[in-house]
Symmetry: C2
């Protein structure tokens, strides 16, 4: 069943059928109705490949993320998919994993599918080693690229992100304002977004005229950052005599590890120790006490990504970089 069959049944040419399918204005109402009737009762569905060939687009966006099972990325996927779908674009998913190599082949595959645009998540994996970013520059030549929470200056690469530095600074400031003196900083990424957050932590201390104690900086490797890992690490710090009365984490799950540590040692939250997470995940409400966390405006970011993409595909001039402001959501794990 193809356009040819329809044209014969409706007694018109294939051009007319095509025009009906594409809502062309150059069809008389009577003809349109007749053709539509045939299409409807035959159950005909236009061949997407042929259409793609003719139009050179299948209205598809490539979504690249390191790990779709991560709640934050899953949420982003859901937001993006919905917004793109409402604009008649489908999304093809590429969960590449975290290695640079895997990302490169992921982008390569999406490119070979001739997607109309790509959204790259997991900017935290974008290193500053410029050579590592060649694949982005390369891909941008053939397709518009938007980075979610990434920053990269390059033609046809657009960035939509949260001001992680400022948000982290405000979170730290809140801890200091509520009487915390020694804030343990837990982080899991040393790349763009990670560096910004760390800078925010530093800035908060500086604003208060406090010196940074390097022993309060705890880095966790990607594959060694489970709740147990974090708890055990903090217990170690205790043994070493490193004292702290607050924990600021670059991701909610790390903060949960700190809460487990508090439970293990009997420290009360927030009376004896305050905890702040990052991302404002759903499970911030699951813990006891509920976790204060930074909302980094994922929905706004995703909506803006989609708008930007649509603009770019329409040939409009679009801002290369858009920054949203995060917000500390106060809950029970910090003092008033």
């Amino acid at each position: 069943m193809n356009i040819y069959d329809i044209s014969k049944r409706a007694g018109v040419s294939i051009a007319t059928v095509s025009r009906v399918l594409n809502d062309s204005p150059h069809v008389s109402p009577a003809t349109r109705q007749r053709v539509m009737a045939v299409i409807n009762d035959s159950g005909y569905v236009p061949n997407a490949f042929a259409r793609g060939l003719g139009l050179n687009t299948m209205k598809t966006i490539g979504l690249l993320c390191p790990d779709a099972s991560d709640p934050y990325q899953a949420q982003a996927l859901a937001y993006l998919e919905n917004a793109f779908r409402s604009r008649n674009y489908d999304c093809v998913l590429s969960c590449t994993g975290k290695t640079l190599e895997a990302r490169i082949t992921g982008v390569e595959l999406l490119k070979s599918r001739h997607v109309d645009g790509m959204v790259l998540m997991g900017s935290s994996f974008i290193e500053n080693n410029d050579k590592d970013n060649d694949y982005i520059r390369q891909a941008a030549k053939s397709v518009p690229l938007i980075l979610l929470n990434g920053s990269f200056a390059c033609e046809r690469v657009y960035c939509v992100l949260c001001d992680d530095q400022r948000a982290t600074m405000e979170a730290a400031q809140h801890l200091l304002d509520t009487g915390c003196k020694r804030i343990l900083y837990l982080y899991h990424s040393k790349n763009y977004s990670g560096r910004k957050k760390l800078a925010g932590y530093r800035a908060a201390l500086k604003n208060k005229g406090m010196a940074l104690d390097e022993s309060l900086l705890c880095y966790f490797d990607q594959d060694k950052m489970s709740v147990q890992d974090v708890r055990d690490h903090l217990l170690e710090l205790d043994k070493k005599g490193v004292a702290f009365d607050a924990v600021l984490a670059s991701e909610d799950s790390l903060a949960i590890g700190a809460m487990k540590y508090a439970r293990a040692t009997g420290k009360r939250i927030p009376e004896e120790m305050s905890v702040v997470g990052y991302n404002n995940s759903n499970f911030c409400l699951f813990t006891e006490p509920e976790l204060t966390s930074v909302d980094n405006k994922l929905k706004a970011i995703c909506d803006h990504i989609v708008e930007t993409m649509m603009g770019v595909l329409d040939g409009k001039e679009m801002p290369q970089k858009t920054v949203f402001t995060g917000e500390v959501v106060l809950r029970q794990s910090t003092r008033k």
Copy 2:
């Protein structure tokens, strides 16, 4: 830059270039090498649409899920995407929402993309009202369908699921075996999977010769099942004088609500009240105490779905229904 340009540069016909691209054995090593050289240095990427048109496939699987931000579905997406990708299939995502209507248009859209197969998640939305399933029967005519945790007998529809009834029964049995007398059952779905779980709860009671107290059955609506909703509901039950010493939930987040209720009333878990969830989500480890939950073998299910799909696409005969056995993962929210 198309196959024509390559053929000219390499001094061969487009057929030969095509054969090189498709690893056809009917090309001499010398020619293959020459063509490959040209392809590599020109950065040529075959046009996926034209290829799709010729082969009538773009090696794409449609993934249909109600909500990608739900951790369970996100995990499934990640498993599926990875397994399909390793077999050179891309996935296009369709997060339809929960209404029947939305699911129908979701399937419709995937069909119009001419995907090679579809995986439908959120079987809990498959009603037994047979008319509601016409869209599945319809879609199955043009493309093989696999239901994740759904059950539906129809040509070209395959089902891969967990034996939810048995798993729930074992969970309830564990509660009874550890001394619980009155198990509150929290559930959120009245469709296939939901009914099976409820049946498991009933069966466990029956096995012990216990009567079912209808007042211990708590149903939560899809949009009224937040942690707070559940906690508040249980507090209400308290007021009404409904007593219970255990909670069995059809989903982990409901169980978390029960834990919040325990916190609010000062009941100790598991000493005064045991709690069991379902799905064995990551956040079972986040709570205090850690949540006993049913592992319904999602990874195994997803792997088997992909295998089944590949078999079907290869024209092999595949089992219409495969059932995995769930497992109760014991943690701190239940007694020994």
